[in-house]
Amino acid sequence: MSDYFSLMFTVVLLSLVVNIGIALYGIFIKPSLVKKFIALTIFSDSINSFAIALGFRRVTGSYPGVAVLSDVPRGVEELRHFSTASVDPLPQALVLTAIVIGLAVYMFLTGLIMLYYRHYGTTRVDAARGGSRE
């Protein structure tokens, strides 16, 4: 049973790695800036999910809880119990930071792509190589 869990968890992680590869391929190959942008968001979301999955841990006999105390602890034993039953909060905090910075980058890129479209009338990257400039 435990081996089955391990296997499925590894399959999820490896499929995220494959997802990262496909997103990278989209960033490199697709000529349209909008499609590159979508591939970039998939790339960063896959990496974030991967980091969250690395923070997962197993608890004997039940499922792990979220890293939030549901009530004010009344003793040190309660805190010990909390730390044995909760998932790792550190990847979640780091991914929160990554999401915010990613959002900042996306906003700037969206503005750039829209200006590009207004100037060239297309979002294909080869338009900027001369020739089709208005």
Binding site: L24, L54, L69, V72, A93, F108
Partner: protein, 270 residues
């Protein structure tokens, strides 16, 4: 051209295979382990620990405590990155004018009425996510983006003209954004200022009493833990995020007549 694409595809496939091999070998440590990393256990055991206040942040939520207390300086710069991106978007479109009366009517009456019903619900839900950031999952950024969805709905459903009429102009939004950032800055040095005034030792980004400093932010409000600076950080961050995201969306949603001047200067494309 075809060979180049093939080369890229093969190298990416190779990267995926090698990464999978490294993970399978255990290069990232045991996957889904039973034991917790030492640093994670320390965070979990000290997040609300009245028996050892000098290492605690006195909040019930570990992620918010890490984001705003243990790694507070990190998050301050992250907020600055968001601010710089918003300034960057506004700079890209520099020279734009906000025109009224371009004839935007928005969507149909049915959509407008249902949006009017949604507005208070979204506001309350977003505010509760932000204000309870130190008690429940969530925080200033999550609540702020939640409320920014409302502003996006407002612009899409009621048209940009309506938003300008209601006072959602970019200069006002930028002012709120800057006020939020100044609030975060003041909160981070509040205990330092108090320490200088009282002649006691204090640190930047200090929340609870630490070694060498007895000053502390309030850790309780009535019958609930307050988390000291975490509550203030969350409130200011949600203000900053909601105004910043709304500003960016308004700039991105500007009509052709409004950005023509920005495009006509033409310096950016040379």
């Amino acid at each position: 051209m075809k060979a180049r694409e093939l080369l890229i595809a093969i190298s990416i496939a190779l990267m995926v295979l090698l990464l999978a091999y490294v993970i399978e070998l255990g290069g990232l440590g045991p996957l889904a382990p039973y034991a917790l990393r030492d640093i994670a256990r320390a965070y979990l055991e000290y997040v609300y620990n009245p028996w050892n206040v000098t290492a605690s942040s006195m909040a019930l939520e570990a992620v918010t405590a890490i984001v705003w207390d243990y790694r507070g300086l990190d998050t301050y710069f992250e907020t600055s990155v968001l601010f710089v991106a918003i300034v960057g978007v506004a700079t890209l479109y520099r020279g734009y004018r906000e025109l009224r009366g371009l004839g935007g009517v928005g969507l149909s009456e049915i959509v407008k009425t249902s949006t009017r019903v949604l507005i208070p619900l979204i506001l309350v839900a977003g505010a509760s996510i932000a204000i309870h950031g130190h008690l429940t999952p969530g925080g200033g950024f999550q609540g702020g983006s939640f409320m920014a969805v409302l502003m996006v709905l407002l612009v899409v459903v009621f048209s940009l003209d309506y938003a300008f009429e209601k006072g959602l102009t970019s200069s006002r939004l930028l002012a709120i954004r800057s006020a939020g950032l100044v609030g975060i800055l003041l909160t981070s040095v509040a205990l330092l200022i108090a320490g200088v005034v009282a002649g006691a030792g204090a640190y930047v980004f200090q929340n609870m009493a630490r070694e060498g400093s007895d000053l502390s932010m309030p850790s309780w409000f009535l019958d609930r833990p307050l988390g000291g600076t975490l509550f203030l950080f969350n409130v200011f961050e949600s203000l900053a995020v909601v105004s910043g995201l709304t500003l960016t969306f308004i700039v991105l949603a500007l009509r052709k007549e409004e950005v023509d001047q920005a495009l006509a200067t033409g310096e950016w494309c040379e």
